[in-house]
Symmetry: C3
Subunit: 351 residues, 3 copies
């Protein structure tokens, strides 16, 4: 079943093919191809969305497919997820039935289900996403799960590829932690570091002590980088991290600590309010591009001067979401490419 749950589960040929397709769709512009006419997609958003929902709805429309967007709990039943459950509580339906039924109607399902923030093993295994996928008889697209955000990852990869004229390999990519009033999940930073490493970029993860990303994710990132002659390093210095950077990707996250001791994590986070992307810090870079997945908190995560400055790529990233969604739908439905032939011959193919 051609699910898109997590790019780690798919080989380089698939990853590179989708990256080329996303770039090609971007070049082609907002084209209505109709190549998915007669197909339909249902998306279930257990958490809020602006870009993912709209870009996927529009991508499907461009391809000619029908989309239904469902917000469970708003006009639908609540769902139970666990096996062997006695459902005498608030949930009226098991996800197994819900997904089973929707599999009979639609040709693909999308699901957004964020991290629990309380059960680390469950979150790092993306347990709910995989429960959902097991219940499906049609392809499932991860619209952001506990640990991964493959739609964002593909858009980011295409943005970086475009920004570096087709070859991001060897460029210096800094993922920097940022303060945020909430302990956010790790799907985006996990995906960003894996994406950059898979592109063969030199990756630095800058974060305060106590905010290291998941060990498994970091090991995978290192494996990607090494196979491409690149490196993955970490630092706890919020200033030196910027030195020589060619891309600064900002993101807030609560990290593994929030699972073990949320009170301590909240306190530690407050103590790191100075981890903000400022014009001063950006001045240490090699005119680095600024990236963020959005939504972003102005004046908290990043200063207006950076976001409104000439090196900000966040709107291009968001724009690429539309084109990445088309590339993803073409994958899950095995559609012929509907855009002009891919343009980049330079994408890495090893590992």
């Amino acid at each position: 079943m051609p699910h898109l749950l997590d790019w780690r589960l798919l080989d380089d040929a698939t990853w590179n093919g989708r990256l080329e397709a996303a770039v090609a769709h971007h070049r082609a512009g907002k084209t209505w191809t109709g190549s998915a006419r007669g197909k339909s997609l249902a998306m279930l958003f257990f958490n809020p969305s602006l870009r993912t929902r709209t870009s996927m709805e529009l991508a499907a429309a461009h391809l000619g497919a029908h989309v239904t967007t469902i917000t469970p709990g708003q006009g639908t039943w609540g769902f139970a997820w666990d096996d062997d459950v006695v459902m005498d509580g608030a949930e009226a339906e098991h996800i197994r039935e819900a997904v089973g039924v929707l599999s009979r109607y639609y040709d693909a399902l999308g699901v957004r289900v964020f991290a629990s923030g309380t059960d680390y093993e469950k979150d790092r295994a993306d347990a709910l996403l995989h429960t959902f996928a097991r219940a499906a008889d049609v392809p499932v697209v991860n619209l952001e799960s506990a640990f991964y955000h493959p739609c964002q990852a593909l858009a980011d990869a295409a943005t970086l590829t475009t920004h570096f004229d087709g070859d991001a390999a060897g460029k210096r990519f800094v993922l920097t932690w940022a303060y945020h009033p909430k302990a956010l999940p790790m799907a985006v930073p996990n995906s960003a570091v894996l994406t950059a490493a898979r592109l063969g970029m030199h990756v630095t993860v800058a974060r305060p002590e106590g905010y290291g990303l998941d060990a498994g994710v970091m090991a995978q990132a290192r494996a990607y980088a090494e196979a491409r002659g690149a490196t993955v390093t970490e630092t706890a210095d919020p200033d030196a991290a910027y030195d020589g950077a060619e891309v600064v990707y900002a993101k807030a996250w609560g990290g593994p600590l929030v699972y073990r001791d949320p009170a301590r994590e909240a306190k530690l986070r407050q103590a790191n309010r100075h981890w903000r992307v400022t014009a001063e810090r950006m001045a240490r870079t090699r005119e680095a591009a600024f990236m963020h997945c959005l939504p972003v908190r102005r004046g908290v995560v990043v200063d207006d001067a950076v976001l409104d400055g000439p090196h900000a790529l966040h709107l291009l990233q968001a724009e690429y979401r539309l084109h990445a969604q088309k590339a993803i739908l073409e994958y899950v439905w095995d559609l012929p490419p509907s855009a002009p032939a891919p343009v980049s011959e330079t994408l890495s193919d090893e590992a």
Copy 2:
């Protein structure tokens, strides 16, 4: 006006025609016909929905029609329903205006409005549904009202017809009450018993003392059955009811008692927690098919072993919702059949 409010209001020719159309659509598969191009449908869901909303949206899309789904109170105004009301409370709009306006825009309206649970005469007369229909200048489809669920009824009839190779008449159908933490409404059990009787099945309603269905519904079921040489019986034995059954349709309901004395009903319901569909009970049947309209509470209404077993038809029922919706839209819009010619010559035509 070709409303679909309740199958009881429509003659056998219409009922049989729709049943044949639903079966034919199912055989044709997920086909996009475009036969309703230029038509539009607005659905108002005053109560939650998963299957009804998605199956109708997709059925309309398959036929080429445009659908708008409205959840009153979420992004719209609240509505007043009564005549001669002075609207100085929370409701900003009368249903008469809302339906009048939507009648100017759309070619059909769907509405889901559940039972009040407090006014039995109003609920058994489907007062809100008929208020809605009176205000409409275009056909109205009942997406589940206080007392009837004709979309489910048609899907169930088609499922039974398919399961019994075109002729369900004479088969033994058991509708069994089941425990549920809430006092659910009666639209589905009412519709299920009427459907089975109209198919000429021998119907048994198994329910604890105090949970008898509405006398008018039971009388109508008996009339359908007698005209077809079949029977309708009742029992309060949760085990013996299964003996010889060829279909077990499980459903929870609060029943008329909840209107008269909700506290007593709640207590009585608790005392009947053992009314659950178990593998042991199913073993008393003639390998009966298990049916449920969904959503279903696992471990409460039915055991996993039954729901995940080889005789469960609940997903086929749900799948048939899509095809039944097409047959219903074709009725209200008087469309030519868009699927291959009907296949069953065996559907009952008497009464």
Copy 3:
């Protein structure tokens, strides 16, 4: 950028052209033209909607365009609007990013954002609407803002034009304040008085002392009227206002007083509960048409006898919303007229 923020900002040629287009669409009926195929529209409703949402969705569908409807806060993030804000509160995203992103996906954006009710200068300047429009790279349609409702205005103008056989100029139009349990905003009365004046009608605004409309709006209305040889007058007499009226347009509003002293306004409003459109008052008119934008509170704003009587135009007004939306989409996308040629040669062209 061909925004439609407020008809005051557009010249008479544009206004008259759109009015003719709306009338022509109405004559053509519910036609599916496909003239906007390949276009897409996203609508953001920060406040509830029934007519505006459904009429715009359907108008776009008739023209062949794709629509996404977003209800911020229901399945999306909350937005910050102010410049130079430090976003450490509840809002997760700035409207500048949200609009920037949607501008990359869609070919036009619609937004409904009601009056604050607390900051009069901000509301009368339509500050949020203009903030939204400044952030957009594509045309923006005002789906009702703090001070204007141009979609309603165009539908009202077309309704009046149709009602008076192509020429409403010189007819007597009364906008009467009505009691309502809430202090409603002024977008509709502002738009109604400007619309009637721009049509060259003799306008009377009947309202209790303390409920005069904004001075700038009244001055603009007078300018429109004078240029067309018509008049704008005001009265505080809830009965005499009806004498000789040919149109009675009812609307409740809180007025400028609610900004300065909400407690006093509430008391004053209660003292004017008798400002209701009754059959007795309508009998003083020259068989005046009754108009209301809806939703309307029966028995509070207007008696059932008037609303259900032969001179009520509220459903025609609502019906015209669909046709006005088509005329508006054709404007913002600069589409060729898709309906039969305009019919009225009599629309005023001066001023």
